[in-house]
Symmetry: C2
Subunit: 195 residues, 2 copies
């Protein structure tokens, strides 16, 4: 296999990249950005060798325990469960949560053969029952798979006597009812709050 074909094959392992995109990327880098290709090669190697999972919350980190879990200012009685580091970042940006996280690094997806073991639920259960955690806030996505994942976790943790909550479903901030989908309005009605 030529170096060019090898590069195109390797680029196709990126998610969402087919042979046309891979060819276009290879052409672009070889013709216009060879420095970028070298930077990317180095970044890949450094990431693979340095990045591992936080022993506490399972997110990506270069240390044994990530900076968030090490932060003495955080409330250790609340544990927020998210699917990915990107979801964790979204919650962090709100500045509305000062507890700790557990990052599943995936979601239950029986159709894709992803079961409880594949997303480290055992690790979550051990973490949630460490004595300090009093409330587990489920912040998995509001998709079918995210909801199923939240359901499985909730059932297991309630059996262990923990308080389990879920992010509220409802009308997004700043939205006009006319343009909100029916399911969302229905949930917002059912879960309406007194005030």
């Amino acid at each position: 296999m030529s170096a060019l074909d090898g590069l195109i094959e390797a680029l196709r392992r990126l998610p969402g990249i087919g042979v046309k995109s891979a060819s276009r990327m290879a052409f672009h880098m070889l013709q216009h950005d060879r420095e970028g290709a070298q930077v990317l090669a180095q970044a890949l190697q450094q990431a693979v060798s340095r990045i591992r999972h936080c022993s506490q919350c399972h997110t990506f980190t270069e240390d044994e325990v990530c900076a968030t879990c090490r932060d003495a200012q955080r409330d250790r009685s609340k544990l927020c469960v998210v699917e990915t580091p990107a979801d964790q970042a979204a919650v962090e940006r709100t500045s509305a949560f000062r507890g700790l996280y557990f990052v599943l690094m995936g979601k239950l997806s029986p159709l894709d053969g992803i079961g409880p073991k594949d997303i480290g639920l055992g690790k979550l259960f051990a973490r949630a029952t460490d004595g300090a955690v009093q409330e587990v806030i489920l912040a998995t996505n509001f998709t079918a798979e995210g909801e199923a994942t939240a359901h499985v976790i909730a059932e297991a943790l309630k059996q262990r006597g923990l308080k389990v909550t879920r992010l509220a479903r409802g009308v997004p901030a700043g939205s006009e009812l006319e343009y909100v989908d029916l399911g969302t309005i229905a949930h917002a009605l059912v879960e309406r709050r007194e005030r």
Copy 2:
């Protein structure tokens, strides 16, 4: 900068990849395909160190002269000018051309500041006037930029006394007139053939 941020930054240098796609790619590789990340790193380094331009036709090759230009079976009197190696591959797949190629590795694009020097037109003119070439077939794309590129090359080579032809414009094979755009039908009428 952390190794993860470094990887996301590096992935953003790929064409068409923004910060969301780059994050998704980084997450996928670190979580599900670390071997793929290493394969890609190696493929990038090999490609950058091994791949250069054919001294004859300017396409990517790992040798001084590419396999097509070395092929003694090819008709050296015909030179087909294409924009990219992918275009060359498209022409090759037809098996309808047995001459040689010149790969511009780009196209004239004054709006992007890409002029005749940037796409090596000097090299093409030297190649086309080597004595062996009798006909230059312009197979640049039928876009505004490809047409402008073809026009500039045609004018320059005709001044040098060469026969210059352009791929025929017309109705695509297998298409129904009802669904062919007006410009294409108009061109096909103007360039109609007697039979």
